[in-house]
Structure formats: structure tokens, C-alpha cells
């Protein structure tokens, strides 16, 4: 039923692409067959993740990066994720405001996504949306995460090259030593570099990287690029660094390692969903709620309850 839509989105029709993204984003069960076809068509795009704290200038930087990549004659798609309200389920998606300069270019596609309850900086459908864009023939796909703090590292399961955007004055070097977001960077971007302290921030990052014992194994030293996104300064250097990283991924075989890492986590996540629905079908929600109530009332405990459920649905001990 999606053959017409797939043919039209591959032919470059915007509306067909946007519709397929909607179906995928809504987790429409019928879209799975389409995703299987689209997966086979993809694998050519360079997938870049841009993450960093709220207000670091990610959207503006993405806009400038798209302009630079357009100068390099690439077709570019952007997926910009903003948070969903945990209270109402609604969202205000405002990343487009910063991307107005890209309007009217048929080789640029921008899509705003709400995180829809996912933690980790992306929405659960982000990878599938990227799959659609990859099949549609974009050379580069940029994922802009929700403004991220220290542990929103879900982007490593969706992107090949990750830019962590920081700004001067975000804290001393101890902040930078913390685990999490700084460990996932393939490239650091010190944005708003016209502000005081930019050189110090860059120096602190450099110091931190020199202490990193994990990195040497991959023979890639994350470059530190200073940018002023508002004017575009430093953005060509950022684009160069990302192109270099892609070349490194290909030459070193890391691109396969990363691809497999992503596929593994994706399969496991789907398997988990699958097991949950099997559990739902065999055990039933009522029985499950009964067990939940027992544990909450301390008549049972989570470990015994898990063993009990495993026995009841016939997957044995453990």
C-alpha cells in the first residue's frame, strides 16, 4: 500500500516524504513493511548528531552548517527534536525559527519532532525517520537533539558523527570531566566564541582529551572547533572536521562497528517491545497488575515476581 508513497518520496516529492515521516513517527503498524523496503535503500547518508545544552546555539549552528553543506552541493535533511511536555503531552517545536534562511531550497528538508516521552534527547521514532530520509537520497542528515545535559547520550545510537556544542562560561573543567555527554563527542564545537573565555573553554577541553585513555584505540582525536553560529564564522572548519571524521570512519572500518552497534541496540529495543506484547498476550494485564500490587504491598518482591512471571509464561527460571 506504500509503494506509491515510496516511489514518490524517492522521486523527491516533499509531500510524500513528509507523509511517510508522519506514518513512521506515529508508529503506524502498517508502516513497518515500508520501513523494511526503505532500510534496504539506505546506508548512503552521512548522519551527524548535534547535541549540547539548551541555549548553546544548536539550531543556529545547524542552520549555518546546512548552508555550508549546500555550498558543497550536498542534499541535506534536518531532524530537530524538541521536548514534549510530560504533563500535557503537547510540545512547542521552535527550531524552525532559526532556520528561516533555508526556506525555498528544494535540496533542504527540515522536520521538527517532539520527544514524545522519550528520555535521552531523541524520540523513539527518530532512527526510523532517519531511515526514511536516508532512503530519500539525502547526502547528509543532521539530527539536532533536545537541549541535553550530561547523560542524554541516546544520539550515539542514531548518528555516525557527533558534535557536542558547548559555550564559554558553562562551568569549570571539573564539569567537563564528568562522564556522559563529553565522552560521546567526535568533534567539539565551542560556540559563541566571540564571548570572553572561549579560548579557556577550548584549552580545558584539550586538556581533558589529553587525559582520555579510551580514545587512542580508535586513532581519532576529536577536534575542537570554535564557531560563532550567529555570523557563520568557523562553520566551514566544522564541516571540514565532519568530512574528515567520515573519511576516518570509512578508512578505519569504524563505520561498520558503529552500524552494528546501532543495529544491535535497535533490535534489542524492538525485541523488548515484542516480549512485552507477548507477555501482555500470555499473562494478561490483569494478572500483571495483580503481581504489581503484590510487590507494592510487600507481599512479594520484584525478583520473586519476575521469576514467577517467567514461570507462568513458560520461559523458565532466571
Amino acid at each position: 500500500m506504500f509503494d506509491d508513497l515510496i516511489a514518490r518520496l524517492i522521486a523527491g516529492e516533499r509531500r510524500a516524504l513528509a507523509r511517510m515521516v508522519s506514518l513512521v513517527e506515529n508508529n503506524d503498524p502498517a508502516s513497518r513493511a515500508a520501513l523494511a523496503q526503505l532500510h534496504a535503500l539506505g546506508g548512503k547518508a552521512h548522519i551527524i548528531g548535534i547535541t549540547g545544552s539548551p541555549g548553546a546555539g544548536k539550531s543556529t549552528l545547524v542552520m549555518q552548517l546546512v548552508r555550508e553543506l549546500r555550498r558543497r552541493d550536498q542534499k541535506v535533511a534536518v531532524v530537530a527534536v524538541d521536548p514534549t511536555s510530560p504533563f500535557t503531552g503537547g510540545a512547542i517545536l521552535g527550531d524552525r525559527i532559526r532556520m528561516q534562511d533555508l526556506v525555498g531550497d528544494p535540496n533542504v528538508y527540515i522536520r521538527s519532532m517532539a520527544s514524545r516521552g522519550s528520555v535521552g534527547g531523541l524520540s523513539s521514532a527518530t532512527r526510523d525517520v532517519v531511515r526514511v530520509l536516508d532512503a530519500a537520497g539525502f547526502d547528509t542528515i543532521i539530527i539536532e537533539t533536545v537541549g541535553a545535559g550530561q547523560a542524554e547520550v541516546e544520539i550515539v545510537r542514531a548518528a555516525q558523527s557527533i558534535v557536542v556544542v558547548t559555550v564559554p562560561g558553562m562551568g569549570d573543567d571539573i564539569q567537563a570531566l564528568k562522564a556522559g555527554i563529553l565522552e560521546i563527542a567526535d568533534c567539539f564545537c565551542v560556540n559563541k566564541a566571540d564571548r570572553p573565555g572561549a579560548d579557556q573553554t577550548a584549552a580545558e577541553l584539550r586538556m581533558l582529551l589529553s587525559l582520555d585513555t579510551q580514545r587512542g584505540k580508535e586513532d581519532w582525536k576529536p577536534p575542537i572547533v570554535k564557531t560563532i553560529a550567529a555570523t557563520g564564522e568557523g562553520v566551514p572548519q566544522l564541516a571540514d572536521a565532519l568530512a574528515k571524521h567520515l573519511a576516518f570512519l570509512r578508512a578505519s572500518g569504524q563505520i561498520v562497528v558503529r552500524g552494528e552497534r546501532q543495529a544491535r541496540s535497535e533490535i534489542l529495543a524492538l525485541l523488548y517491545q515484542h516480549l512485552l506484547s507477548r507477555l501482555n498476550a500470555t499473562l494478561g494485564a490483569d494478572r500483571f497488575n495483580e503481581i504489581v500490587a503484590d510487590v507494592a504491598a510487600r507481599r512479594s518482591d520484584p525478583y520473586s515476581a519476575t521469576d514467577e512471571i517467567a514461570r507462568e509464561i513458560g520461559i523458565g527460571e532466571n
Binding site: L23, I92, R96, I97, L279
Partner: protein, 170 residues
Amino acid sequence: MSQQSLDATPQTQVAPERKIRVIVAKPGLDGHDRGAKVIARALRDAGMEVIYTGIRQTPAMIVEAAIQEDADAILLSILSGAHMALFPKIMELLREQGAEDILVMAGGILPDEDIPAIEALGIKGNFGPGTSTQDIIAFVRANVKPERLAQPLPPLRSTGASVEEPGAQG
């Protein structure tokens, strides 16, 4: 796959409703965006996903955003008086894209004598000063067709794959 999930509490164990996606845009040159922001916030609090595009939007910008975002609805807020210059262009561009299934609404300062002409364009709502946000939310809910995503996409009327300004080179 079953929509009822075990990892939810019984109270929330209902199939997740499809999110309504609304573009809130200010066409024209006036920069008075307070009303648009209040409505964007109210729609968000009603559980909708609001794509806020900001001020000084051309018809092509608005339509391109609506197409790329596959919006269910567009809400135009205008106070400059240029509605009769801008609204017909927006509707014409939507028609070219075969996107007549998108609900288009307007609000702001729309003189009574212009309302019939605005309605004749296919623009609904026409929310003037004093309209309650609850009325707007109810209107959006009542007029968006949730089944539109499942329907086959009509063919493009124009040859271009992207939205072009009327009269622009393409």
C-alpha cells in the same frame, strides 16, 4: 503489536491518540506575536504539537513549513491588515501542492466586511479579539480530520517538488 502496554499504569493504558500537529505562523510585516504565542502555548497545553515559525513569514515560507512538517492545521495570526493580499496566495500555494486537506484558520484583526471573502477562500475560524483559547482548541479538535494520514496522497498540481513563490523562477 498491541497498543495496551504493561509498562503503563492502568489509568494510562489506552491507545495513544494521534498528536495533532499545528503550524502557528504570522504572515506579513507586523511583529505583534503575543497573541500567536498565547495560542501556541494553549494548543501545547491541550496536548498538541505546535510548530512555531515566528514572525514575518511569506506565504511560501508558511506553506513550505506545513508541507515539510505534514501539519494537520495552519493557524495564521495577522494584525497588519494585509490579510487580503496574503491569504489568497497561501491558499493558492496549498492548492498547487495538493494540500487542501490541511485545515487553515486565521485570527487577529480581521474586519467584519472581509470575513465572507476570507471564508470563501476556505479559511475557517476567523478568531477575532476576545476569542477564548478553549474555543480555538475545540475548533481545531472538531475540524482536523485524524484519518487524513491514512488517505492516499493527492498528486501534485505544480511541477516543482518544493514550494515556490508565485511568479518566481522555477
